[in-house]
């Protein structure tokens, strides 16, 4: 299993429970693990019954966790921009610019972008600290966009840097009778910020794409809709040469069903299981039973042990 | 790089400031690209219409590809310019200088004495001892295989501008 593991899947298939138990398993097997939850519902704190705020908090030996929320991240980011606005710009414009920032902070893409930013930050900075980082990511579409983001952002940042340095070169040519002064370009603030972000994005892209450190586990239920969606997602991911390691089929009904209704449900489940076996031939497929009661810190251990066969 | 690619690259580099026409016939010769740049400078005092002085500057780029270049081709080009300079250059009372850049690209190698004759190429014409302006010609030859450019003395500073790497 690779260093960075993404648990993808439709909402409500039990991603959080899977990623949490897998995290416990990998921590128990001696790997220093970080569980990152991006789910707005923050169910990870409920499972471990420990308040996990948006910085790294230790839950079990060898296991840290962090809940990142787009909304909090974007608020921090916006406040930083507002602070640096104070000492740079004349007050008349600051008021108008603050209006701009508040408008931006409620626009749809912002929280998602803030979330991506934080995830990329974790991937690039925490990569050396931990042996394994597990992401309990939000629904599939979201994840696919996260993986394609470095590509899009990288190109956009590249154009910006080119345009800005062309503008700065022309200005320094104007001031130095046609010769360009290298210093002007190097200590230009805007280019510095853009370059910093560009390097971060590239590092994340390198980790996620080239070094093959990333693998993907799809959590599905034995029903028609999740299967189709997963097939589609896997094709897209393969396009970005992301390795899809395994499929976890969750909420498998117990064997000895008594009344007719559940018996027919069981047969139907078996039919889908065969389809799953068929469609995801090359992948590791791993079944997890439907739990009697919610997963809590006391019973997470024995679910975690089940992952041993999976590994 | 073949001459078509070169033409497109040349067109995109000139299009910002030059008015460009493709495949234009001038004085019996066919040019694949004709570019004209024109600017008017004036100094005024107090009111915009109180002009102390004003003058106009023209620049022309005439480009065509020719693979079998030799010395008489260059000499023949000089004759062509001598006869046709007046209908290439558009002039009026305020025109000061007109610079014609004769640009030739060749996809084959170019022999040395053609290059020598290009380097020696010289054409300067003034109207009424310069009172009515003058014309200077820059001859630039680009070898598309080795991406090298040769030019006459006037074109020395400009030839780098007409080399487009892949």
């Amino acid at each position: 299993m690779n260093k960075i593991v993404f648990f993808g899947g439709k909402g409500g298939v039990g991603k959080t429970t899977c990623s949490a138990s897998y995290a416990v398993f990998s921590a128990k097997s001696g790997l220093k693990t970080l569980l990152v939850s991006t789910d707005p519902a923050h169910s990870t704190s409920d499972i471990f019954e420990k308040k996990i705020k948006n910085e790294i908090t230790n839950i079990l030996p060898n296991l840290d966790a962090i809940e990142i929320s787009g909304e909090k991240e974007s608020k921090i980011y916006m406040d930083n921009v507002k602070i640096s606005l104070k000492n740079v710009v004349s007050p008349v414009i600051v008021k108008e610019i603050n209006k701009q920032i508040d408008a931006a902070s409620i626009s749809p893409g912002t929280e998602e972008a803030a979330l991506f930013d934080k995830m990329i930050e974790i991937i690039t900075e925490k990569n050396d600290e931990y042996d394994r980082i597990i992401f309990d990511t939000a629904p599939t579409g979201h994840t696919v966009r996260l993986l394609t983001l470095p590509e899009l952002l990288g190109a956009w940042l590249d154009t910006l840097i080119k345009k800005r340095s062309k503008s700065v070169t022309l200005m320094s040519m104007a001031n130095h009778h046609g010769q360009t002064d290298k210093k002007d370009i190097d200590n230009d603030e805007v280019i510095k910020i853009l370059r910093k972000r560009y390097e971060k994005i590239n590092k994340a892209k390198k980790i996620m794409m080239e070094d093959k450190l990333l693998s993907f586990i799809f959590v599905i239920n034995a029903e028609k809709l999740p299967i189709d969606e997963t097939v589609k997602a896997i094709n897209i991911l393969e396009k970005y040469n992301v390795l899809v390691d395994g499929i976890v089929v969750n909420k498998i009904l117990p064997e000895n069903m008594k009344d007719d209704f559940w018996k027919s449900k069981k047969e139907q489940e078996q039919k889908y299981l065969d389809i799953i076996m068929e469609t995801f031939k090359g992948k590791k497929i791993f079944k997890l039973p439907l739990l009697q009661e919610d997963m809590k810190s006391n019973n997470i251990e024995n679910i975690a042990d089940k992952f041993s066969e999976f590994n | 790089m073949n001459s078509n690619e070169y033409l497109n690259k040349l067109k995109s580099s000139l299009t910002k400031y030059f008015d460009i026409e493709l495949d234009k016939e001038l004085g019996g010769r066919q040019f694949s690209l004709y570019g004209r740049y024109y600017t008017r400078n004036s100094k005024y005092f107090a009111l915009r219409k109180f002009e102390v002085y004003s003058f106009k500057i023209n620049e022309y780029v005439l480009y065509h590809n020719c693979n079998n270049l030799d010395v008489d081709y260059i000499n023949e080009l000089k004759e062509y310019i001598k006869d046709n300079v007046d209908n290439i250059v558009i002039r009026d009372s305020e025109t000061m200088s007109s610079a014609i850049t004769l640009l030739i690209s060749s996809e084959e190698d170019i022999d040395n004495d053609t290059i020598k004759s290009v380097k020696k190429f010289k054409f300067y014409k003034s109207y009424d001892w310069g009172f009515k302006g003058w014309v200077n010609v820059k001859l630039i030859l680009v070898n598309l295989k080795t991406n090298q450019a040769y030019s006459n003395s006037l074109g020395r500073r400009e030839k780098k501008r007409f080399i487009f790497l892949k």
Binding site: - | L47, F50, F55, F131
Partner: protein, 544 residues
């Protein structure tokens, strides 16, 4: 009194005035650094583009500094140096500084439109015709004054004359090689400067213009400016201006250096008389003779034309408007010192011989001698620099005069109507230059005061516009009203005095009397016209 102390004290006074009165003006006029200047709001990269303050100050100073601040103070030294110094200091601070800074400020607040445009647009058709006639007459006087000055100089030092002719030839050759043969600018500049000194040496060795009398020089100069202003600009004007700048700045640095090293004591009398004979009363004449050193209407037209379109920030208005006027005040002080360190009798004799330029050249020649440059070379170099300066103003004035003349007589409604002969380029140039030359023959001393009063009238008009604008935008304009009244009173008094003075022997200088009379009439009409339109727009603005 040692001259160095005088210059240093003047500089210190100016710095204090800049900090105190300058800032006071900024506050009362409401100069707001955060407000966007036209260079930003209407930026088009051609006329409107913001420029750094020091670069703009240099450009503005170069365009307003002419032979004025040198000739005026020396000519006025006849009253004694103390009154002239007082007028230069007080004039620069309270009248000239306010005038230049105000013109710039009003223009910045009118989207960079030049004062000419503001006056042009606020006045009706008749006003515009009058304004054009007034401008044309002033330009004729400029041509007359500078031609006479140069002629006087070339007669007094023949070497300067021959050097100037060689310099013109050098300029034409320089233009030919750099422009047409594409010789590198760097190389040819070095060669040009070397040849420049060769010209001076040659000019001194073979003074081939020794025998020329003053009138022959006037004819040569008139012929020269007629040809120069008709010939295309790249033949002579541009290369000559390029070489001129080296001459001019070398001279200024030489003068300042020489002054510091030599620091001569002032010999001339501090005060001569209130009336130095022939009704040359101190009151109006001093303020009209010293034009550029203290206040000059010419600045308003130049300053508000191109400079206001490039002001980057409103706080630069104080540096460029007020600062450049003070620098010119210092230049005028240096000029007056070159005249006054010679005792008054010798000064009078030098003045009558070659005019103020000769006095200045001799002075700077002595200054330069203090650090090793032989007196004769220093003198010829300075006179070459000054005459080059004067020739540039002559050239611009002739071109402008011709243009205004053409426009005055161009009453064709449609383009295809036959243009009457007066609007022909060559005819109008010959008339303008010829009339200027005729006046020049009268002698420079007679023409300069009339030119001075025309110039100060323009200044008064500019101050009036400023006062009206300040009132209209609800700010206290007494800083501008007092100088306006002062300038109008001085101009009227001077013109009346000149008319009386000149009509004493009406036979010889009837032209001057007529011109002075026309100027007087124009002054009255323009003042009334200006006042009415400006105050009218004020009420209507407030009512409307």
């Amino acid at each position: 009194m040692n001259s160095l102390i005088l210059v240093l004290s003047v500089i210190i006074i100016f710095i204090i005035a800049y900090a105190t009165y300058g800032s006071y003006l900024c506050k009362t006029w409401g100069l707001d650094p955060k407000k966007q200047t036209p260079a930003h709001t209407m930026e088009d990269g051609v006329d409107y583009c913001p420029a750094k303050a020091p670069v703009l100050l240099g450009h503005h100073f170069a365009s307003i500094a002419g032979a004025g601040p040198i000739v005026g103070p020396i000519q006025a030294a006849v009253f004694g140096w103390l009154p002239v110094m007082l007028w230069i200091v007080i004039g620069s601070i309270f009248v000239g500084g306010v005038h230049d800074m105000g013109a710039l400020f009003a223009s910045v607040r009118h989207d960079g439109k030049s004062l000419g445009e503001v006056i042009h647009s606020t006045m009706g058709d008749t006003g515009r015709k009058l304004f054009s006639w007034f401008a044309w007459l002033t330009l004729i006087l400029v041509i007359a004054a500078f031609t006479a000055i140069c002629a006087g100089l070339f007669v007094s030092t023949p070497a300067a004359g021959s050097t100037s002719i060689l310099f013109i030839i050098l300029a034409i050759a320089f233009g030919f090689f750099v422009y047409r043969k594409g010789a590198g600018l760097g190389v040819s500049t070095v060669v040009g400067v070397v040849l420049l000194f060769a010209c001076i040496w040659l000019g001194m060795r073979f003074q081939f213009t020794a025998g020329f009398t003053k009138s022959t020089w006037v004819i040569i100069l008139v012929a020269y400016i007629t040809v120069a202003s008709v010939a295309p600009v790249w033949i002579l004007l541009q290369p000559r201006d390029y070489l001129n700048s080296f001459l001019l700045y070398a001279m200024i640095i030489g003068a300042v250096l020489g002054l510091v090293i030599l620091h001569p004591t002032i010999e001339a009398k501090s005060f001569v008389a209130f009336n130095t004979g022939n009704m040359n009363y101190l009151f109006p004449m001093l303020f009209v003779t010293v034009a550029c050193g203290a206040i000059s209407g010419f600045h308003a037209l130049v300053g508000s034309g191109t400079t206001s379109k490039q002001i980057d920030n409103e706080k630069d208005v104080k540096l460029i408007g007020y600062g450049s006027m003070l620098i010119e005040g210092v230049l005028a002080t240096i000029a007056i010192i070159t005249a006054t360190y010679i005792a008054t009798p010798e000064l009078g004799e030098l003045l009558s011989d070659g005019g103020p330029m000769n006095v200045f050249a001799t002075g700077i020649g002595n200054f330069m001698q203090s650090f090793g440059i032989p007196f004769e070379t220093g003198k010829v170099f300075t006179s070459l620099a000054i005459s080059a300066f004067a020739l540039t103003s002559l050239d611009t004035a002739t071109r402008l005069g011709r243009f205004i003349f053409q426009e005055l007589f161009d009453n064709r409604q449609s383009a295809d109507e036959k243009a009457n002969v007066l609007t022909n380029k060559y005819v109008s140039t010959v008339i303008t230059a010829g009339l200027g030359g005729l006046l020049a023959v009268m002698g420079y001393a007679k023409v300069w005061p009339i030119f001075g009063s025309a110039n100060q009238l323009l200044a008064a008009l500019a101050l009036l516009t400023l006062a009206a604008y300040l009132k209209k935008s609800g700010k206290s304009n007494k800083v501008a009203v007092i100088p306006t009244i002062f300038m109008f009173v001085v101009t009227f008094a001077a013109l009346v005095l000149l008319i009386i003075q000149k009509s004493a022997d009406f036979a010889t200088n009837w032209i001057l009397v007529i011109i002075a009379a026309i100027l007087l009439v124009l002054a009255v009409v323009l003042a009334r016209f200006g006042y009415k339109t400006l105050t009218e727009t004020t009420e209507e603005k407030i009512k409307g």
